[in-house]
Symmetry: C2
């Protein structure tokens, strides 16, 4: 008999995650504020619920996948939310990418109600959500992780990172490195281009050495082609960096490099470039230099 | 019959490069301001010269390997320098890591004298100099590169990057990316550590994704161990970033991220940490957070 799983939040990521859970034999009850999104996965076999509360009432464990901290708090702790429908012994797994402090707040409320909680944000975007190969970073109690580890399998590969919030802290560490590695590649290629070099030659000359990175391999060709089609949108990276700076402020960690790239991203969003791929961070540096990495 | 090569500058890098040239059958005439360094390679079969000028007089091509722009200019253009001993048809290959603008100035003086010039800085440090596996980034005229390409083989792998200065511009692009990737890893791991996570768990969770890089794999373990033994010294990276900012100023490319890491490095040098490995950039971020990545 299929295990009963609830899923709240049927966005670009949530929909393929639900489908992969159903393919693996889970019975999935879903809810979303957007009725059309519910209809879509209903066609594939998901059962609709009218609220997050009802989703929890009908299932043993509820996964939430929403945009940011306030959305997770509303979906789980709010009126008509998951916790209202959860009784002792049930579990909530928040796979949203939010501030670790918000995860800890939600975890405390769940613990008080006798409900298990994990924060389990993902990395890899829509393509890996569809493939079921997301990287899943998990925070919470280790025995709870052990109990629900199988549930992650249809969606990707899960790593236990530490106590409540550790999944989101690990995700923030990841996003800090990615944003800054993009800025580094942008600055290096703009300098090379305006100096008269072919950025592709520079890319090929350095990619095998200490400057080599997954970002260099993935994003330098986009900058060279002038193609900033997402991929991962600048405005989503903005949210992550805001959460990183918020966390740094809360725990006393100055983050000067993260702060600089967050300012750059803020400027790009103001310019209407929030829906470019995050490799578009290079646009800011190109504008400063009045020189594009792409073209002659 | 062995081809006659001159080599000026017998530092940590120069000595093994000379040895590899001799192993490959070249007859190498050397000079250095430090008599002891000359004696060392003389024992291995190098022929001593009293000056850069004499080195050039006795050979067809002279390689220079000195610390910075002013040293290259002095060794090649100065009184008693390589150019004074070079006649039409000879060649000068400057393998020092200097400002591209200085390479262009030296190139112009060489061209005027009918002497060929290449700028050919290297990446890989002492271990790869010893192995003969340096990455060599070459700027200058393509036919001159073609003529001397074989000479690079005993020292490493050479890539043609463009006209005069392009070797050094490519090297600066490399150094910008490396310094900022180190800063990114430092900031991410300090945040994770002070949030109560095990930095090694975070490293393992993210290294396979978009945050993955050669810097992450090489430097995160050093930060986690609190081991900043060089490797590549902070004060050498300082020189490269100074040259990058100088070049940016000359050609109109603002480099805000490079400027920030250069300020951080300046502070570390002031603190007496210039001889740490460049992964010690993390020290600055650790001090700001009053938290080390290493230890409990």
């Amino acid at each position: 008999m299929a295990k009963k799983v609830g899923f709240v939040g049927l966005g670009i990521m949530g929909k393929p995650m639900v489908r992969n859970l159903m393919k693996a034999g889970y019975e999935v009850t879903v809810c979303d504020l957007v009725a059309a999104a519910v209809k879509e996965v209903e066609k594939d076999g998901a059962k609709p619920a009218r609220s997050a509360k009802e989703t929890a009432e009908k299932t043993e464990v509820v996964i939430t996948m929403v945009p940011d901290s306030k959305d997770s708090e509303a979906a789980i702790l709010g009126s008509g939310g998951v916790l209202e429908g959860s009784s002792k012994g049930k579990a909530v797994i928040d796979m949203s990418s939010i501030a670790p402090g918000a995860s800890q707040k939600i975890a405390a409320a769940c613990e008080k109600a006798g409900v298990s909680f994990l924060d389990a944000p993902v990395s890899g975007g829509e393509p890996k959500a569809i493939e079921g190969t997301l990287a899943i970073m998990v925070g919470g109690k280790q025995d709870v992780f052990g109990k629900w580890a199988d549930l992650f399998q249809p969606m990707g590969s899960a790593t236990y990172c530490g106590d409540y919030g550790a999944g989101n802290t690990t995700k923030l560490a990841n996003q800090i490195i990615v944003a800054l590695n993009i800025a580094a590649v942008g600055e290096a290629l703009v300098l090379a281009k305006k100096a008269g070099l072919d950025p592709e030659v520079v890319f090929n000359a350095i990619k095998g050495g200490l400057a080599g990175s997954t970002v260099l391999n993935a994003k330098a060709p986009m900058m060279i082609a002038g193609n900033f089609k997402p991929g991962f949108r600048i405005r989503l990276h903005q949210k992550d960096l805001n959460n990183a700076l918020q966390t740094g402020k809360e725990i006393g960690v100055p983050l000067p490099f993260t702060a600089l790239v967050q300012q750059v991203i803020g400027s790009l969003v103001n310019e209407g470039k929030g829906d470019l791929d995050h490799s578009g961070i290079a646009n800011f540096l190109e504008d400063m230099a009045q020189c594009t990495v792409s073209g002659k």
